[in-house]
Amino acid sequence: MKTVLLVEDDKNQLLLYKQELSQEGYNIITAQDGQEAMKRVNEQFPDLIVMDINMPKMSGIESMSKILEKHKKIPIIINTAYSSWKDNFMSWSADAYIIKSSDLTELKNKIKELIG
């Protein structure tokens, strides 16, 4: 079973993703900010990361670049309400950029595409 790390500061949303992606057959681990995300990656080696950008303590962009320094091959999907980051080169190292929607089909398809 593949492990997906969900990084999201909104508890309710995190719960939604956890429920939905579990149903898709993934092992879900979570983090609520950038720092916690780095800790989880180092301890549990997830197969993929779904990362929000606007978060307390450390932003998704910053934590993504730190994670990628050590774990170059881990696929990352940015999942954010902000469309403006899409044009920013800092986000280009992500494997996908998804604008948050209540319809999770796009997110699910992307994960499947990246890790099966």
């Binding site: 949303q13 939604l16 209540s102």
Partner: protein, 567 residues
């Protein structure tokens, strides 16, 4: 009783005195018959017959209102010497002002037997006074008008009004320093003898006061008279000093031409355009600077133009020039104020757009996150519930509503997103054509008949084609939506004042004035599912390109949006 010889001498002396007297002299009997008159009286009254035997009033033709203003009647009733001033119209139709002094002659019983009437012609003095008060009145009238067109017409009306300066026709020429020319601006006067006769009799009948005449002529002002149109065609370069108008400008002195048709120095073309053998040109001078010329003639009455009239016209022209200068300054000021207001409005608008944009972005993001959660869980409920279940139906409604909100948010984010524009030289016609072919199926579905009128001469301009296309799409989509039962859509491109103008005209429902005022306000919409950002974004884009959008609309007839992009 004087001895005969003395009486004879006295008669001689009396004759001498009477002969030397520069005025009319008459002896009347009690019934006001003229018993005797000197020769001067006939000259003064301009009568070609001997007045002796006639009644006083028949000969003098005084315009006395009643007996109290008649010196003869007053002298007769009071027994005292009486002085009066009166206006009269001679048999030949000339206006004269006369001072009459009437002295009653009495017998030994103090009964009046005869009346002595002296009359002096005071026309010249009266006219001077009349002219001065007229000039004051005209100056007041012209200084009170700041609208330049109205003022020019007023000036020419004063020149032609019989109760003012009384010329038959008048034309006004103004100097254009930038183009170094003097050009015909306006003309007032009848176009034919027939019209002239009609107008003058009408004027004499209707308008006693100058103010009334001016008011009426203002209401009847027409700029399609032949005289006006010919005058508008006249223009002369200021370097051509042989031209009469230019001469008048350069010398700053009036020119009275008595015989233009045979004068060798006259430019034939100018004479043809003026079409009068006798005319006068007076310069309009402000602070020693000539700004134009008034040209007047008596084309219909053929009345000779006297030096006196020229003088009066010149004095009037000085007042008129000052008034024109004032009105011109006022107009320029008005233009500047309007420009300033325009710029300010644009600034406020773009500032408002920026503030709204930032706020919208913030609100949109804050709302989007909880929406994801709400919608996401609703979908999850939807999947888990059974067909026909109340919960399934409810979840469906939530999902639907969330979808709607998310769509609106996406729109708002588009609006608030700062756009980096990429400007390249583009052909507007091509861009429009491109947009049309993109929308072709949409037109067919909506039963829209499309007409294109593209001006092939319009040059390429530097714009962001994606953004401008977005504007076209927005406006065309609005146009189509305003014609729910189908209709025709007209796309036109043209050149106008250094701008490319793109007209998008529909035959749709049109808008009320109230709606028109608000259409560019962000988030204002009249559509059920509209977000109110389409036109706001369009205007922002056109603003960013240094252009502007104008709208004309009338209910039922449809709407025209005009986009102006600078070349």
């Amino acid at each position: 009783m004087l001895p005969y010889i003395v009486k004879d001498k006295a008669d001689n002396i009396l004759n001498y005195v009477v002969g030397a007297f520069e005025g009319g002299f008459a002896i009347l009997d009690k019934d006001l018959h003229i018993l005797w008159a000197n020769e001067k009286l006939a000259d003064m009254l301009n009568i070609g017959y001997n007045p002796v035997g006639k009644i006083c009033r028949e000969v003098y033709r005084c315009e006395c209102k009643d007996d109290t203003s008649c010196s003869v009647m007053q002298a007769l009733s009071s027994g005292q010497k009486q002085v009066s001033e009166t206006r009269l119209i001679t048999e030949k139709g000339e206006r004269r002002y006369v001072q009459n002094i009437t002295t009653p002659l009495k017998d030994e019983h103090n009964n009046i037997t005869h009346l002595l009437k002296f009359s002096i012609d005071i026309t010249a003095q009266e006219e001077k006074i009349h002219q001065l008060s007229l000039l004051r009145k005209l100056a007041e009238l012209t200084q009170g008008t700041l609208q330049i067109d109205k003022l020019l017409h007023l000036i020419l009306t004063c020149v032609t009004a019989g109760s003012a300066l009384g010329f038959n026709r008048a034309r006004l020429f103004l100097v254009d320093k930038e183009r170094d020319i003097i050009y015909g601006t306006m003309a007032v006067g009848p176009s034919s003898m027939e019209e002239a006769t009609k107008i003058w009799s009408e004027i004499a009948r209707k308008y006693e006061k100058l103010e009334d005449l001016i008011k009426a002529s203002e209401d009847n002002y027409r700029d399609d008279t032949p005289l006006h149109m010919i005058t508008r065609l006249m223009a002369y370069t200021l370097s051509d000093e042989k031209e009469t108008l230019v001469k008048c400008i350069k010398t700053k002195k009036p020119i009275l031409e008595k015989n233009a048709y045979s004068s060798p120095g006259m430019d034939r073309n100018f004479v043809t355009m003026i079409a009068a053998n006798e005319f006068v040109c007076v310069p309009l001078v402000v602070k020693d600077e000539p700004i134009g010329v008034i040209c007047a003639d008596n084309y219909y009455s053929l009345k000779p133009i006297t030096e006196d009239r020229v003088q009066l016209l010149s004095t009037f022209a000085n007042h008129a020039a000052l008034a024109i200068e004032n009105a011109d300054a006022y107009k320029k000021l008005g233009e500047k104020v309007r420009q300033l207001k325009d710029t300010q409005e644009r600034l406020i608008r773009s500032e408002r757009l920026a503030v709204i944009g930032n706020m919208a972005a913030y609100v949109a993001h804050e709302i989007r996150n909880p929406l994801v959660t709400i919608g996401g869980f609703a979908r999850s409920i939807l999947r888990a519930s059974q067909q026909g279940d109340q919960a399934k139906q409810n979840a469906e409604i939530i999902v639907e509503e969330v979808n709607r909100l998310e769509k609106i948010l996406a729109n708002i984010m588009d609006f608030s997103k700062p756009v980096e524009s990429v400007k390249v030289t583009s052909q507007i016609n091509e861009l429009l054509e491109n947009t049309c072919s993109l929308m072709d199926p949409y037109f067919k579905n909506s039963r829209i008949e499309l007409t294109r009128k593209f001006n092939s001469m319009i040059p390429g301009i530097v714009i962001d084609p994606t953004q401008i296309k977005q504007v076209f799409l927005n406006l065309i989509k609005n146009a189509v939506e305003s014609m729910p039962g189908g209709g025709s859509l007209l796309l036109e491109t043209s050149l106008e004042d250094e701008h490319i103008k793109i007209n998008i005209t529909d035959t749709g429902e049109g808008m009320t004035a109230e709606i028109m005022q608000n259409i560019f306000v962000p988030f204002f919409t009249t559509k059920v599912d509209g977000t109110g950002v389409g036109l706001a974004v369009s205007q922002k884009i056109i603003d960013d390109h240094g252009g502007y959008i104008k709208v004309k609309s009338s209910l039922q007839d449809g709407t025209t949006f005009s986009i102006y992009l600078p070349i």
